[in-house]
Amino acid sequence: MDSMWQNSIDRLNSRREAVAAAGGAERIAKQHSSGKLTARERMEALFDDGTFVELNDQISSRCSDFGMDKKKRPGDGVVTGYGYIHGRVAFASSQDFTVGGGSLGEAQAMKICKAMDKAMEMKAPFISINDSGGARIEEGIDSLTGYADIFYRNTIASGVIPQISVIMGPCAGGACYSPAITDFIFMTDYSQMYITGPAVVKSVTGEEITSAALGGASVHSSTSGVAHFVYPDDLSCLNGVRQLLGYLPQSNEDYSLNVPGVAVDNSADLSSIVPADSKKAYDVRSVINSLVDQNSFFEIQESFARNIIIGFARIDGETVGIIANQALFMAGSLEINASDKASRFIRFCDCFDIPLLTLVDVPAFLPGSQQEHGGIIRHGAKLLYAYSEATVPKVSLIMRKAYGGAYIAMNSKGTGADIVYAWPIAEIAVMGASGAVSIIGKKAIEASEDPAAKREELLNEYNDKFMNPYIAAEHGYVDEVILPEETRSKIASAFKMLKTKERTLPYKKHGNIPL
């Protein structure tokens, strides 16, 4: 090898080493001491072993203001590239907090956008790992435009490729809006997301609040509903991302993998899980686990709007999205947060051809001024809209209560359900017997010599006539009344039959969902 070759190779190696060294040993040690992995370690944990390939490692900032040209920022504070997850290609960016605090400037944004563009071209998922102090102030408007470039791509890619955000450190200000546009947000226990941090909050409003109380993982997973998943540390969090991707297709032109599992039919247990007395509560997750392939249920937003359960599972190896009223909380009634939670999930599944299974046991939309003034009409409408708009296979099981508008909203026949099953204990009516009799029997009860006896008589009549699934079955709103032990096989059969379903919507630029 001649000396020119050698010099060139040495120069390349030196540049590579500088990039690999990131922010230096001291900052890496600090990152580790706070329980966090480095950007490249995160990539290694995210992708199948040995498959991560870094792209554009030499991109660097062109900014010279405020002495920026004197500062060394290897990789410009982000690592981007591709690799394989479960043998399928995926693209990712991982902000490097050891380099300039992971702050985002023009060059970092360009690196991220280039990876996003490749993900779109390859029709592959994009994962964004966030650990950044925010906009690089020295780069001014170029930094802000960098965020805009990312938000724009997030929006264009929405519904085309799955986009997952992973928050593993600070994510503040405008930076929050990229994760917010993506499909799923993972957070670690020590991460934070907020539009304005505690110091600004104090200066503007006088409120004193810690970072964790303002925008920690606990807040976003249980109160705001911003985060879908929370894990204690980086490694478990990235395993969670890998697990989620196992349920998803690569894009809207692909199908989820069939993952053969243990298909144990536990339907026989269902009659002992669900009490026939509709006032008694039970955990609907036990119903789900009895119906789906063993250990395949992967719950989403488990601490937020706990009156409705959503998540992915597999039936005969095929991914399904599950929406289920949870009788343990608010008796499974629908309210603002539950409507938002379920409708966004339904729309995700519809984007990516994931069939929907709805388990219904719903007494009503939650009444009260708090809900009305909070816009339950607007939020509840999202659920109706999402189900009506979805063209994927839609199967419902009415387990117990299905009353009024909430019945309609939970994937009823009228909003496009393909197959609706009901158990013999199902009660499908405009409202429960007590409320109904108080309205329709008011005059008769008042005129009666024995109002209590009359009320009892009318209750019995209403219960006998309406509180069952047979009128709905006679009118074609329920396709079949089934026994609990038949449930899994019936549902599996329905999804198998519906696999070739084709239903198209009339041409439109896009619908106008009530946001």
Binding site: E41, A45, Q243, G246
Partner: protein, 56 residues
């Protein structure tokens, strides 16, 4: 494990994967691959970690 045993195991794997006899595999040289930064971090901190694989 000493080096000769590691090389013997590697030869056996290569032979099996390629469907050839071990006698036909010639080792010209070998080098020990350093632990990745993540593997090193996990080892240094005695972290119990298993990467999630599909279907688990």
């Amino acid at each position: 494990m000493d080096e000769s045993l590691i090389v013997a195991m590697a030869v056996a794997c290569i032979a099996e994967e390629n469907g050839v006899d071990t006698k036909n595999v010639v080792v010209r040289n070998f080098k020990e691959v350093a632990k990745s930064p993540l593997a090193q971090y996990i080892a240094d901190n005695n972290i119990s970690y298993h990467k999630y694989q599909l279907g688990e």
